[in-house]
Symmetry: C2
Subunit: 680 residues, 2 copies
């Protein structure tokens, strides 16, 4: 690459873009870790995008109608931090740049959305950003349809690398974007031909242009170092309104550095002499971390360029009716509507009176049927299991190219893409996404489910068919370890409600979260309503509570969740008939119970009685409640799964794996008489 030629053709642009290059080189070198080459290679694209196209106001990074910029190639985080610092972002200061990758800073190794307002999403696990961006673009379409172009009118830009495009989730993402004609989504492919192991071609020879076209995208190919070509391509991409656009940018990783066009250039360039030589090549003479004032001034102009547009937008917002302003503010703040509480309570009361016997997936549908009409910000969907996940309610309408008001998304057989796009919708703000699949396919959605927890977004994952109760489809479709998987994940609420009432309570809690995703673990099979006496209080909020007290001396406590609470109640009946006082504790949410104070936990799980837990999943996670807590039981056992399931009708499976009232009662009796020692 002839750097001299690039410099001479566009001298001003070159130096402005090179400010990004120099910051990346300096910050990575100082941190002695990170990725220098990507920011250096994509500096030209970023400079043109920010200065000529991106609608934003650096001083107000939370302006709702800003264009969204997502760095899917998150390892190139210094590109984003450099842009934010240069533009005058109030949070990404020069000190933060110098503090790259250090404890307590905002400039983490990969961009973390919760560390700075201007960071739209957390990226680094490859492919997530491009899949998030699909959600961002969908959210914009939905909100524009609802609130009008005066309030919602922006684009979503995303930079993806070769890694993003090799990951499977990119396939799901680009398929969705193409299918739903997301014309305001513009993706830049950093086509630098290099991965960590070597040239891209050692592991991939796909024709990305043809691939994106096959998915229904508008595609352009440009020299990613030519500012005029970049500008023209973005302009052309914006002009295509019925298709997402991909701009394949041929770039040189670590441009102008000794490591240019090599794998080494992908990583941390820390050799002082080589870095000095690169700066000399670039014509960059400023000391480390210093930006010549004329360049910094220009960038600050870029950062404030959107101020006028923001002012006009604020004026338009203030011209809207009071109720419209309030509603817009409410949904953008993620506040639940006032009516939600009464709606949930009414459903609980009705269920406690009519005692429906339904699967909790059906119970979930009953909740959504009353919630969705009063909560127009919900966005439902399923990964091609709508009828099984019970996620669609009649009022929603189907999101499509000709119905942007539709609130239900047919995600197709794309659990991962769905989860990642839902995260994008939630991150955009103004909408509250939930989506369904079979619980076993938590596995497919895992990378995005973890990121929801890390990113602190309240996405709701509706996971039905939550045990061997799924029946004949067999062990590939029967979750066994998936409750443990979600419970092991920090900042995640896992609900496994036992009936309609608990399902309503779980949704009530999930829909009020601002920082925590929820996993709803729901049955395929019908369950009785056990909460037969209406209480306005949300008992599930404490995570676990006494569902049925022991009659006579309390000798045993059975703890259960979901479909096994019915089994616990039947076991209790048998035990009480034999004179064994037995308490049943329903535990719909371990995480919330763990958050209660010790006094409450001890009231629910007092020491003394034997404890048996029953759940049609693996034991991991239950030991704490069986053996732990002050004044703990001396004897405890678990009734559940210790292997994968099998293909057979559900009732036979529960018999086969010994998850029955009889088995539970027997275990209690054995523990009490001491013929069988505690299994621990």
């Amino acid at each position: 690459m002839d750097i001299e030629d690039l410099r001479s053709r566009h001298p001003d642009h070159w130096m402005r873009a090179t400010a990004l290059r120099a910051l990346a080189l300096d910050a990575v070198a100082k941190a002695n870790s990170g990725h220098s080459g990507m920011p250096i290679g994509m500096a030209d694209v970023a400079t043109v995008l920010y200065s000529k196209h991106l609608k934003f106001d650096a001083t107000k990074p939370d302006w709702h109608d800003r264009d969204r910029f997502i760095l899917s190639a998150g390892h190139g985080s210094m590109l984003l931090y450099g842009l934010l610092y240069l533009c005058g972002d109030p949070e990404i200061t020069l000190d933060e740049i110098k503090n790259f990758r250090q404890m307590g800073g905002r400039t983490a190794g990969h961009p973390e959305n919760f560390l700075a307002t201007a960071i739209e999403t957390t990226t680094g696990p490859l492919g997530q950003g491009i899949a998030n961006s699909v959600g961002f673009a969908m959210a914009e379409e939905m909100l524009r349809a609802r609130f009008g172009k005066k309030l919602v009118d922006h684009h979503t830009y995303v930079i993806a690398g070769d890694g993003c495009l090799m990951e499977g989730v990119s396939h799901e993402a680009i398929g969705l974007a193409g299918r739903y004609g997301l014309g305001r989504l513009i993706a830049f492919w950093d086509n630098n031909g290099i991965t960590i192991d070597g040239k891209v071609e050692i592991s991939d020879r796909s024709d990305q242009v043809k691939r994106f076209e096959a998915a229904g995208w508008h595609v352009q190919e440009i020299d990613g170092h030519d500012p005029d070509a970049i500008d023209a391509a973005i302009t052309a991409a914006k002009a295509v309104t019925d298709k997402p656009s991909m701009i394949a940018c041929k770039t040189h990783i670590a441009l102008g550095h000794a490591a240019q066009d090599t794998s080494k250039g992908h990583g941390a360039l820390t050799d002082g002499d080589q870095n000095d030589a690169a700066k000399a090549q670039w014509g960059w003479t400023a000391p480390d971390f210093e930006i010549p004032s004329e360049i910094k001034d220009w960038w600050e102009g870029v950062g404030s360029r959107g101020g006028a547009a923001r002012g006009e937008w604020e004026a338009r917002l203030s011209e809207a009716s009071d109720s419209r302003q309030k509603e817009f503010a409410r949904v953008m703040a993620g506040e639940a509507p006032k009516k939600l509480s009464a709606t949930i309570k009414a459903l609980k009361k009705q269920a406690s009176e009519t005692l429906p016997k339904v699967a909790t997936r059906k119970a979930s549908e009953m909740v959504l049927e009353v919630v969705n009409p009063v909560m127009p910000e919900t966005v439902g969907g399923s990964a091609d299991l709508t009828g099984s996940n019970n996620t669609k309610t009649p009022d929603m309408g189907v999101f499509d190219t000709d119905n942007r008001k539709g609130r239900y998304v047919y995600w197709g057989i794309r659990e991962h893409g769905m989860a990642a796009a839902m995260n994008g919708i939630a991150l955009h703000g103004g909408l509250r996404p939930y989506g369904g699949t079979f619980m076993c396919f938590t596995d497919y959605a895992r990378p995005a489910m973890r990121l929801a927890a890390l990113m602190k977004v309240p996405t709701v994952f509706v996971m039905t068919h939550d045990s061997i109760g799924l029946g004949e489809d067999g062990p590939t479709h029967q979750p066994v370890e998936h409750l443990a998987i979600s419970r092991a994940t920090p900042n995640t609420l896992v609900f496994r409600p036992a009936d309609v009432v608990e399902t309503a309570e779980a949704w009530d809690i999930a829909l009020r979260q601002s920082d925590t995703p929820t996993v709803m673990s729901l049955t395929r099979q019908g369950l009785p309503t056990l909460r037969n006496s209406h209480k306005t209080a949300n008992l599930s909020e404490k995570g676990a509570y006494v569902l049925a007290e022991a009659e006579g001396k309390r000798q045993a406590i059975i703890i259960a969740s979901g479909s096994e609470v019915e089994i616990a109640m039947k076991a209790r009946e048998a035990l009480q008939a034999g004179g064994i006082g037995t308490r049943v504790v329903s535990m719909p949410c371990m995480e919330l119970f763990a958050q209660q104070d010790e006094a409450y936990r001890k009231r629910v799980l007092p020491g003394g009685p034997v404890r048996v837990a029953v759940e049609a999943g693996v034991r991991m996670g239950w030991e704490r409640w069986l053996l732990g807590e002050r004044g703990r039981a001396n004897k405890a056992a678990f009734v559940g799964m210790n292997s994968f399931g099998a293909s057979a009708p559900a009732e036979e499976l529960f018999e086969h794996f010994g998850i029955t009232p009889d088995a539970v009662a027997t275990r209690v009796r054995d523990l009490l008489v001491g013929t069988t020692p505690s299994e621990f």
Copy 2:
């Protein structure tokens, strides 16, 4: 669709294919669950494939040189069971067909490889089969290169549905197949245009032909009900030897049934009248589950057609040298070579003497460097992190179109595709795959890692950078819950070795597994060799053992794994200095420890002393060892993570999150003096 026309044009073929249709219809109706439409729609393709192309001998389903047939669209399992029964497979009898989806049968809802010899792989979670098939085809290339065409010379056929092709893993799979020019891989796309939620177009409008071409495949489009076209397409696909082939088969789901071309047709067709009407349409007059003898005879002829070829193959095998025959038999049986044991012991001895201080990922490389030369069946690889995962050894060579003897695979940024293809390699037999990525990306590979466990294949997942010890890359790359995730999965060995010696022991165990996958959890950061006195016995085989005994009265036991064993030893030193007798238990594998008898477990974890566990992950899974076991400790605590990590240098992170010798020692002291109660 004009059924009459189809019948009249190819009357013999029609009735033979319709035997598959009738069996599927009857079995699903009897089970009252399952998927009728796919077998009905793909019966023509399957009939032509089995009768004219597939090299197999139904009576010897374990013939090593058979063609592999993989039903990626696993919900259509009755197609496979019907084929096997009709061809005379010894395990899939008529009783099994009638017992479809019932307890204890071989004919599970989705094909399970461990239920019948002829079932090559377990499918159902969509996209897995097509990704497995890439591994099967790679294995064939590698073994043909090693043992020659006389012994290894077969094709891999796979049927994939729209669901398989929407899943992200299909993108990774077809990218790999295209890149590696797997000319003997032939995929049929069941292009029926229907998914569960409706027509495919409601969620996807991709151009699959263009997409496969973009990935480097040879593609044909045919009428999937025209036997001549099917035959010609397969012939043409076989003639293309440098590219994988995709045959897009336009089919009608539930052909001839009232539910044809509808979502309903995807599921269980159980309406007796409609089913009778369908059979009438088909011209099928035999009673339920009965196959007219001339049709059954013809199919049995299909089943025995390969007998001669098999005989010739056996003759060729017997002509090979003794050592060649033995080696072929050994690798196909998955037996470790005799030299393995001595090789591992020599490395252990050397390490115990020289006490290297290396990361366990590096230790793993040291093991592989001595193992790979004596174990030519290993296939290594990494998802674009070769230098970080330390998975490549000098002797391996790189697998490529011009080097089929290469044993190292550059999988690209495709963790899921890698894991699923490794499963395919293992299922093929003759090779032992291992592959690496960062442990945090367990999430990406999860669906295939679970299937390895369910399918009972000994794939080894090399997961490096296994904690916050990863450092500056931050929480997106720092596993916290992933040890718990893998430990919660049935039939999975999770090793977290503490030093070179334990790493060698872990590999020794992993490479001898026949039915169980292994997760190797390895550090980025350097660790001292703690096992400084050589023992030929594999101490890790018991899962946990006393690494350092208490001096004086035993007051505390510290249990740790991996990088935290060093911390435990340092804490012990401090405690002993203060007169507190402290035992350190190294626990590299919880699963193996759980399998030991009670006497051993009690020897390692006797009651009485306080117990503190330390591991840089979440607590879930540790409660059992802290609180459980007979004669359990009264007081226990855990030192580890209860949140996501952060971006900073590793040492600072361990300090920040309080995972230090000081913190552990303090916890022990507090428990002993009782100022801090047990945390449970």
